[in-house]
């Protein structure tokens, strides 16, 4: 019995723990501060160990990040007032024909702090897709599995997230206006 458990822990440490940075990064962007992010990432790793026996896939990083994401949303419901959870409207492809001032946009893109702020200000459902795509490099299909939404939703959220980022960076974003 003890041997089994040891083996399992060892296998867990090899499959899942190398992705601790990715887990923390996602938690940090979702939760918005270090303290909560550590709580979420730690809780997620312990959950991952608990359910490690049911891990059948071959992608430890995607699996761990799925758990981080679920852990975060559970934590969010418990710890923050519902007003802070932004309900997204229908998922239709209402991508407006936006053009932003390219010059202002490009000058802002050089400034890491502005980008950081713009990402932080995105609704959490947009933010997570941006992190998973741009920082983790997951495909649309992988993100759809991870966030449990259809691929079409991944596409439309990503597109709307990017338009919103561009508008925020170009100083043209009006809260309340449709992204």
């Amino acid at each position: 019995m003890r041997v089994d458990k040891r083996e399992r822990l060892k296998s867990f440490e090899q499959t899942v723990l190398p992705h601790l940075d990715a887990a923390y990064n996602l938690a940090r962007w979702l939760a918005g501060n270090d303290h909560d992010a550590q709580d979420v990432a730690q809780e997620a790793c312990l959950r991952a160990l608990k359910f490690f026996g049911s891990f059948r896939g071959d992608n430890g990083r995607a699996w761990l990040l799925t758990i981080v994401r679920n852990t975060f949303y559970t934590w969010l419901r418990k710890n923050r007032s519902p007003e802070n959870v932004i309900e997204l409207g229908e998922e239709g492809l209402a991508v407006e024909d936006v053009t932003v001032n390219a010059e202002i946009l490009n000058s802002q893109l050089a400034d890491t702090e502005s980008i950081r702020r713009a990402i932080e200000e995105l609704p959490v459902e947009f933010r997570e897709i941006v992190i998973l795509r741009e920082m983790e490099g997951f495909s649309y299909k992988e993100i759809a599995d991870l966030a449990d939404v259809p691929i079409g939703t991944v596409m439309s959220r990503l597109t709307r997230a990017r338009r919103q980022l561009q508008k925020r960076l170009a100083g043209e974003f009006k809260p309340g206006a449709k992204p």
Binding site: M1, R2, V3, K5, R6, L9, E13, Q14, L17, P18, H19, L20, D21, A23, Y24, N25, R28, W29, D34, Q38, A41, Q42, C45, L46, L49, G57, D58, N59, G60, R61, A62, L93, V95, D97, V98, T99, V100, A102, L105, N106, L109, A110, T112, I115, R116, I119, V130, R133, E134, M135, G137, F138, S139, Y140, M155, L158, T159, R162, Q166, L169
Partner: protein
């Protein structure tokens, strides 16, 4: 295709997720429409600036320590089980091993290539786990290349691909397929790419992706008497980009 339709597709196009028919139509539109071409460049620029290292949060040492402390007792606490149940465990163990041996001999004997791929992935993971990515840390190819001299019986090609977004971080000696090999270490934001190189008798072969192992992607090619294996948790498309950039001389 009109502008409205084009604007909906530029993101998938920039992400390399558009199908062939869509690419053809969109490229035709972008060619003739400066406004949409600009919108596409804006997306590309945005994507690029979202990939900088400084936006990525690394797990604090404090979190690693807390986790270690949480994980350790999980194995320690079950000691009594061992003495109580050792006979069952031992007999089950022996039975499982016999069955596994039988199965592996008859059904699932991996090809030498598969074994090699597995060995490369293991080596990649080891380098990450032990925080032993490299023996010589340098982004200067003229430092890394001479470092291998005298340690290996061949001279591996070394390039820095910083301008293509894959900075060279250093080099390391590794042991694969029963010989000493060169491992070059590159980064793509926080993802690590290990490129293993050693001499071979194989004919030149084009780069080809292997089936991923444990979520790690592998690309293999041979050129000029050297064999190359690139491995990373990066997605296959970006790893392929890296291989193209490292590419044949």
């Amino acid at each position: 295709m009109n502008c409205q339709e084009a604007r909906r597709l530029i993101d998938s196009y920039a992400d390399g997720e558009l199908d062939a028919a869509g690419i053809l139509e969109l490229e035709k539109h972008l060619h003739g429409c400066p406004a949409c071409a600009l919108a596409f460049r804006n997306v590309q620029n945005l994507k690029k600036s979202l990939k900088q290292d400084s936006l990525f949060f690394t797990a604090p040492a404090e979190l690693r320590q807390k986790l270690k402390a949480e994980l350790r007792p999980q194995t320690e606490s079950n000691r009594p089980f061992w003495t109580w149940n050792w006979f069952t465990a031992a007999t089950t163990g022996v039975a499982v091993i016999c069955l596994a041996l039988l199965l592996s001999l008859t059904l699932t004997r991996p090809s030498p290539q598969q074994q090699l791929a597995q060995e490369i992935v293991s080596s990649h993971i080891r380098s990450l786990m032990a925080n032993h990515e490299m023996d010589v840390a340098s982004s200067d190819q003229h430092t890394v290349k001479p470092w291998f001299d005298g340690k290996l019986d061949f001279s591996p090609p070394v390039k820095d691909l910083a301008s293509q977004g894959f900075p060279l971080i250093g080099g390391r000696l590794d042991y694969i397929d029963q010989r000493a090999v060169a491992a070059l270490v590159f980064h793509r934001y926080k993802h690590v790419i290990n490129l293993f190189i050693w001499p071979t008798d194989e004919k030149d072969s084009k780069s080809a992706a292997r089936a991923p192992i444990n979520g790690y992607h592998l690309i293999h090619w041979s050129q000029g008497g050297m064999t190359f294996w690139a491995v990373s948790d990066l997605n296959e498309k970006e790893l392929m980009e890296f291989v193209r950039d490292f590419g044949p001389d």
